[in-house]
Amino acid sequence: MTDPRVINAVIVGAGHNGLAMSAELARHGVDHVVLERGAVAQRWRAERWDSMRLLTPNWMTRLPGWHYRGDDPHGFMSAAETAAFISSYAAQLAAPVRTHTAVTAVQPDGAAYRVDTSRGTWRTRLLVIASGAYGKPRVPRLAAQLPPGVAQLHAAQYRSPAQLEEGRVLVVGASATGLQLAQEIRRSGRPVTLAAGEHVRLPRLYRGRDIHWWMHEAGLLAQRIEDEEDPARARRLPSPQLAGTPERATLDLQTLRAEGVEVVGRLVGVRDGQAQFSGSLRNVCALADLKMNRLLDGLDSFAARRGLDAALGPVERFAPTLPAAPPKLMQAFGTAGAFGTVIWATGFSPDLDWLQLPVFHADGSLRHDRGLVAPGVCMLGLPFMRRRQSSFIHGCEDDVRELGALLLAHLRGTPGRRRWGADIQPFSEAMPTSG
């Protein structure tokens, strides 16, 4: 085949988002290809720790026309099961996936886009970025100041406690990942310290039901970003402290402390071979407790309004997180009893180095209006991109339908730059909108 191959749509990434968009485009008869650097659901196959499970229960894990069919609706899929779930969806769709085809560059090409890959070049009118929100590990700048003898790894490189040196482990970050790693490493017998900044505390079960059942039923997951008072803040919120275990156990700072994990404040500095922790631990715990209780108040009102009280367990309130007084403010690296390993559970950014379009903010983050990046270009799967559930597996259905409609309008030349939202402007006169 000669380069560039011409096509109407290129989807980058064969995870759940890319496949769902593939199904949507196929439904409308748009010829397209799904370019995948590895195998289908690559990140679930190869880039997460061994014991990782979804935070959403199986009954909730569904894609357009595809859902969990096993006998454990209230369980949580492992990473391998999630990969299998997504792969069988791809097989069922017979999606046009080109595996082991890494996109190396995307550039404007007249009214279209040129997509260079490790296996040739495409020219496309539409580009769908479905390479995920969690591709590039984020590590704070002060990582560079750690003494040389200290082993450092990001949660993306962590697989199991067996890979760690003996000695105390400092886990930095109090989202779902940080807490799960701290618990697993502690249970392997190692001493663990968890550094916690602002975080979101949630019980796994509330009044006998999964917290995500509540969030779903009460309509919180479907809430739209434009209805948020402070959208930037809503998007920045760390993932709630949850784990998907067979016991459906709650995982919070209290749980960890009861298992012997030392909880300290945010890691704020490194000086003279010592880690320095913020004295704000009490307040971030108080903020998380207050926020959780406000959420539970709201869920209780919802249950009462809906007449669900009889079917549910009694109203519960959980003990406040009272930090050990006073929390440790300093701890040495390297020497006996000190930190030998630091694990950065400090989040991810999308890996978009290949996207050579003027669509980035000064801080390197993607500029977009609810997923619309540029004329004919959309992103999928960012946290709270269009709705709170945008980064959830089931959340792609609504986003793909709505963004798919806009892509189709662009392809068919339906008039109206307006449809792309006020923020979306063509890059230059050389590349006009279809309108």
Partner: protein
Amino acid sequence: MTPTIDNGVNVQALLGAREALTAQPAAARFQWRATSEWQRGTHSRSTIESFHGLGAEQKHRQPYRYDTDHPEVFAAADNGATPVEMVLVGLAGCLTAGIAAVAQNRQIALRSVKATLEADMDLRGILGIDAAGVRNGFEGIRVHYEIDADATQAQIDALVAQSQKRSAVFDILANPTDVSVSAKKV
């Protein structure tokens, strides 16, 4: 929404500033200043007058002067607050201003806000008495508020928590700050 309660904080101006400074980060760069002159013994007098912000030099309505000294139990003249006590003054002022502003924004009328601050210190630190684990500064600070307002306990807790979250002095005390001191012979 038109404010119906008034704690005397111009929240509209604060929210306006937040919006303006989001667009113009350079104007958000402030510099705070103090000058200080030794009087006698452990007594110093500090003056606060100018600062920089919003892209220009600024001035307080009038200069403010503060005396610091050590108490008589240190065999000093006690011409003013101990410097460590001034730190508590700063923390109380900052947190309480935050409470008033957050309350205003949340339409909570305040009738009275009283704070008691306590800070523990082991004097062996500053006296250079060799004792493992003793630092010069505070071992910890405790702040207790008594607040009379049209609000539930949970709303009051949220005011106080939000105020800490947005407080400069709380951050200065809870997190490390790079401090450099230089001197010139004159």
